[in-house]
Amino acid sequence: MSEFTLRLRRFDPESGEPPYWDEHTIELEPHRSVLEGILQARGRFDGSIGIRCSCRAAICGSCGVRINGQPGLACHTHLDEALARSKDNLITVEPMGNMPVIKDLIVDMDTVHWKKVQSVTPWLLGREPVPEREYLVDREAMVDVTQSMACIQCGACVSDCLAMEVDPEFTGPAALAKAYRFVGDPRDAEHEERLRSLAEDPHGMYTCTHCFKCVDACPKDVNPMGQIMRLRRIAGSDHHIEDRNNGYRHEHAFVENIRRNGLLHEADLLPDSYGGKFHPRAVPELIASMPVAIRGMLRGKITLRKALLHPHKASKELRAIFDKVESKPKRYELNLYVSGTDADNDPAPVAPELANAEGSA
């Protein structure tokens, strides 16, 4: 048994008082969870400590909180780990962010999280006709969507989503991971419609800024940001959906620019992203970027020589890379959900060098 001091952020909505800090010293084995610590404090000292909780094993998703500033499940954080991250020898527990606090560690998930989930049409729109038995689908596709199915709706990713802090209307990581669960599901009939509406929504999937906060926060390795990136890739590559942020055209311009020039030719990139120098869409953008271009010239970062006489040729090696990637029959999605191989258990695994040599021969 070891002693730990919990510092809980308390708030009583009926008192008219602002939130305050409340400290309790509890006694538990260091590998027990912060939730067990809180429950001991509640059981022994103060029954009025408010926290939602049930399973204690990271499956019901009730006990999302912030521990020493890091969002996660209280039941999924060991006391000793929490203490190791602490600067003041206290384990500080606060309610999650981006959602209004109801009482103590309990936040209002309905008006934020669940409202956003509801906005992505979170049910299967099954392909017709519905088969008599099961839909026959790829084994891998089901394992793949099971990663987003593993989301327990705890809200930890919502709590610290930076994009949502800036734009509270942002659909957010959990709801977009839920959206992927249908877009990645071969039984769903409306992939394109779903992606179109996520792309057209000014607070939709292009609002994510790639900050990785949700990836860190998720206790179930759902990788919400990864699911958002996959939504974007599928929207662009499979459905040619052009988003309002011009990301789709920018990506294509970028790829074509490299294919043509070998090295990125920045002066071409901007106009190309808007359809080329003479495209009506590009003109106002080019005019708007003039001050930046002039500043760049004044500082010697852009010269007329570089801008106009950039060599337009890609090396043979680079073209070989393009050929190789584009000759693949299927887009290779990085699914980190299942790792390891069947060979892992074999007593004498084949050395990876040999396996590779064989593969490339």
Binding site: R56, C60, V137, T341, D344
Partner: protein, 565 residues
């Protein structure tokens, strides 16, 4: 005052399935839960759902396995219905979006499970319950215009009119503290079991026997209450569940001598014998000094014999549980487990349509006892039970509502319950703490009413439970507020647990034989001549004490025979 044709209490798998089935019949439906529906404990069901779907399987084989698993205490008419309707129900779930694991041909993959004569368990990795619960909740979101949701509402009593019909419930909005009366033509309770009466348990903190106690207090009988399942593989410290799917995938159980001791108790099925058999074998090893780990209180579960990739793909959740809660990489080393309280086979007595003896009151899922599980439930039959009988209860409750006028309810119960809560909040603070009473209850049940039982221990347990009931009426609480006053709900839940636990102990004392999960060391044999019958526990309205009666077991085509695995 809200009025609905069908009101469902509890939003786990049985409750949500009932709500969707009732709504399909075109009646007005409300579903109420003390937690957000996806927090319901169905979420923790791991291994899968049984259905005779493969070409070389037959529902009769599933039914026979279930009857044998129940140690012949299951009602065979109900078991036949469940097993016959299983494939259709699983296909329905597949069609609405459950991401069942596939085989190489793209069909549902099936894994072997305990007590089953063939691989017939469909699964989603080892998060089957979670996947199913979340998909049903997707459907509730889809049908939000026909199914009204009351999330985070706590039920304090069932209403009955002068004819004895159930006419609704009284409930408290946890968030605002407001008390409200809900009138309904049919009420379905689907609140789950009462695992929290045990310490440790695999069950969540919310599993406190609410529906069992509410129905029992309203006059409904509880049946098969002595049949409490101990799951063979729970973490030694916290009691968390390690899915039976691990053994389904081929994992071994080893004692301190490295011996696969199941060879003694179940030479044919080995680790995949039914749960009561495996738990008893483990407990015997531990009691006879062949346990492992600190104090020799555990058994090794060796999952390293399963290919690593398969473990990572199909047993992902227990890889996490091993890593996060036991510090063990289960793909590389054995993990220490022991039997732990997991499931109540017993519950509110119902017929195959979910009807309880109280008109207008239905029950489905773990809270109910149809009885399809009898003395011992097979793994992966509980999810099936929730869906089949949840759906049937929903359909029949809707049909009843179509033939019934909206009841007029008096608000006397509303006033009583509001006063009851006020009284708890106003209690002097000199009583014992709720957490203390709950802990003593849990330890007592786990000591005397567990894998092995006897007269002396059970009598001791009954004495303790009766004393705790008295102490609970004076237990002190700290929270005087109305918003999210979880303290006062804890005091009410404690009462629910104690009523339920008392019924368990009384029934276990009554059954003087060993059958299924009930093993009496003082009556070690099964005795069909005297005890092939259900024990019903009723609350005597006068004395407020449990009374015992019996009801027959329905046998259709499988006569009791010796049970060997």
């Amino acid at each position: 005052m809200p009025e609905h044709d069908v009101l469902i209490i509890g939003a786990g798998l049985a409750g949500q399935r009932a709500a969707l089935a009732a709504a399909r019949e075109g009646v007005s439906v409300a579903i109420m839960s003390k937690v957000h529906p996806v927090r319901s404990h169905s979420v923790a069901a791991a291994g899968g759902i049984n259905a005779a779907m493969s070409v070389d399987d037959d529902w009769r084989s599933h039914a026979y396995d279930t009857v044998k698993g129940s140690d012949y205490l299951g009602d065979q008419d109900a078991i036949e219905i469940m097993c016959r309707e299983a494939p259709g129900e699983v296909m329905h779930l597949e069609h609405i979006g459950v991401t069942f694991h596939r085989n190489e041909r793209g069909e549902l993959d099936l894994r072997p499970f305990g007590g089953a004569s063939i691989a017939r368990t469909a699964y989603v990795a080892d998060i089957t319950g979670q996947a199913m619960l979340h998909v049903l909740y997707e459907q509730l979101m889809k049908h939000s215009s026909t199914v009204e949701r009351f999330e985070e509402w706590f039920t304090t009593s069932l209403l009955r009119n002068d004819d004895g019909h159930c006419t609704g419930v009284v409930a408290r909005d946890i968030r605002s503290g407001a008390m409200e009366m809900f009138t309904a033509k049919s009420v379905i309770i689907a609140t789950g079991g009462c695992g929290q009466a045990y310490l440790p348990t695999t069950n969540g903190l919310i599993v406190t026997g609410d529906g069992m106690a509410l129905a029992y207090r309203a006059g409904a009988p509880l049946m098969d209450m002595e049949m409490v399942q101990y799951h063979p593989t729970c973490l030694v410290d916290q009691g968390f569940l390690i899915t039976e799917g691990a053994r389904g995938e081929g994992a071994h159980l080893l004692n301190s001598e490295g011996e696969r001791f199941m060879a003694k108790a179940a030479p044919n099925k080995m680790e995949l014998a039914s749960r009561d058999v495996v738990s008893r074998a483990e407990q015997t090893e531990i009691d006879e000094g062949r346990g492992v780990g600190p104090g020799g209180k555990g058994i090794y579960l060796d999952i390293t014999v399963v290919p690593r990739k398969r473990t990572l793909e199909a047993l992902r959740e227990i890889v996490n549980i091993g890593r996060d809660f036991a510090g063990v990489d289960i793909t590389r080393e054995p993990i220490i487990i022991r039997p732990g309280q997991h499931y109540f086979m017993g519950g509110v007595k119902t017929d195959v349509d979910g009807r309880t003896p109280i008109p207008g009151l239905y029950a489905a899922g773990e809270v109910a006892c149809v009885s399809v599980h009898g003395g011992n439930r097979l793994g992966a039959n509980s999810l099936l039970d929730t869906l089949i009988f949840g759906r049937r209860a929903g359909e029949h409750a809707a049909a009843r509502a179509n033939d019934t006028a909206m009841p007029k309810a008096s608000d006397a119960s509303l006033r009583d319950d509001a006063a009851m809560i006020e009284a708890i909040i106003a209690r002097p603070r000199d009583g014992r703490r709720i957490s203390e009473i709950k802990e003593e209850l849990g330890e007592t049940m786990n000591r005397y009413c567990a894998v092995f039982r006897d007269e002396a221990g059970l009598s001791q347990a009954l004495e303790v439970v009766v004393r705790l009931k008295e102490e609970a009426t004076k237990a002190a609480i700290d929270d005087r507020g109305t918003v999210f006053n979880q303290d006062v709900l804890g005091a009410i839940e404690l009462g629910y647990m104690l009523d339920t636990a008392e019924a368990v102990v009384v029934a276990a004392l009554e059954r003087k034989e060993s059958r299924g999960a009930q093993f009496r060391t003082d009556y070690p044999e099964r005795n069909d001549a005297e005890w092939l019958k259900h024990i019903d526990i009723n609350l005597d309205a006068e004395t407020e004490r449990p009374t015992v009666s019996y009801s027959p077991v329905t046998i259709t085509q499988w006569q009791p025979e010796e049970r060997k695995y």
